[in-house]
Symmetry: C2
Subunit: 209 residues, 2 copies
Amino acid sequence: MTSTPIADLWPTLSGGADTRPEAAYRLLQAAVESFAERGFHATTTRDIATAAGMSPAALYIHYQSKAALLAEISQAGHAATLTLVRAAAGGPEEPAERMRRLVEEFTAWHARARMVGRVVNYELHALPEDAYAVVAALRLDIEREVSALIEAGVAAGVFQVSEVRTAARAVTSLGIDVSRWYTERSSETPEELGRRYGELVLRMLGARV
Amino acid sequence: MTSTPIADLWPTLSGGADTRPEAAYRLLQAAVESFAERGFHATTTRDIATAAGMSPAALYIHYQSKAALLAEISQAGHAATLTLVRAAAGGPEEPAERMRRLVEEFTAWHARARMVGRVVNYELHALPEDAYAVVAALRLDIEREVSALIEAGVAAGVFQVSEVRTAARAVTSLGIDVSRWYTERSSETPEELGRRYGELVLRMLGARV
DNA sequence: CTGCTGACTAAGCGCTTGCTCAGCATGGTG
DNA sequence: CACCATGCTGAGCAAGCGCTTAGTCAGCAG
């Protein structure tokens, strides 16, 4: 169905030496797809278990609750995104080049892993309070990385923006919204889309390109 | 709670000579807020009815079903957005000025009517099939208006974009996503945000500003 | 007054939900 | 062989869901 989306987020699983049974991974994958397509509340535990080839009761051997599944997806998804953003923003290149790479990878990720992206960005309200707190902190970190990079560009004289926070919002906003509208039938590959969005963002920030 | 969001969308109601009872309007308002905050499936008919000051059964005097409420909100919201887009895109000014106005108003609308905006953009999957078809056609019209305006700008030599469809996606995407993140506690007013986004989009499209 | 209408409620029906639990097959270990 | 931990199932419980039903009541025409 979705090419290779969630294995990237739980590398210990796709690796090899992991203690978690393969059934837990199948449940996770089924939950991602169901949450993304129907939403958390419209998804039943029977949906998830059936898609993973098990009875509803088996779900509770691997996860405490339906909400715990959502929490795991959301936290892993946010952590992966933050890692990606940090890697691009903290590179050795000059600010414009770092921003281009950040947007390219941020955008491509939201297209490639759009199922996870939807859960991550549009099911926040269904998270239990403690899981939400963890995730909110990660989101703040992401926004701060982007803001800091824009500020670096402004300081270096390569970006011209009147309000850094608004510009940072616009940059992350463009990438996040990709997971809403991108489909497998889209004419552009995730990487193509990333390159084009990178171009658009640099111009938006006032960089000469 | 939300300033003046949904009255604008059902002007016959806020006008005066409307046959629809005021109770139906209260239910609509309660549904918008509940769908926006919790999502369609997490909202119960008891939630809506209680918020409107009525018993659950009263809902069914004014609307056929919970889904019919969603359909009415979604169709009216999309129709209002298309009207706004058409008015800006079809103006007498030159393309860059029309685009600026379009983005300003599209963005401000998604900030001001963010509750309606969330229902309109993030609860599509819960629509009954026939209502979805109507709404999908409206969405296509909106995208086409934006694409045509970009093409006009390219033809006039004021915009430089390599892929019109990708650029159109980016423009609408920026506005739609506002309804996801904007809150009453945001530091910018909807109009300020609109002006700043208008500036960013013109630069993104390669217009000299 | 009578007779009728339209907005509304209290009660609850049939069904689905998230989740539990007793029990079963399997396979490694003494 | 016995023993037991592990992974799982079939059956089902309590709660809550969308929606219906029977009936109440204010308002109004005659």
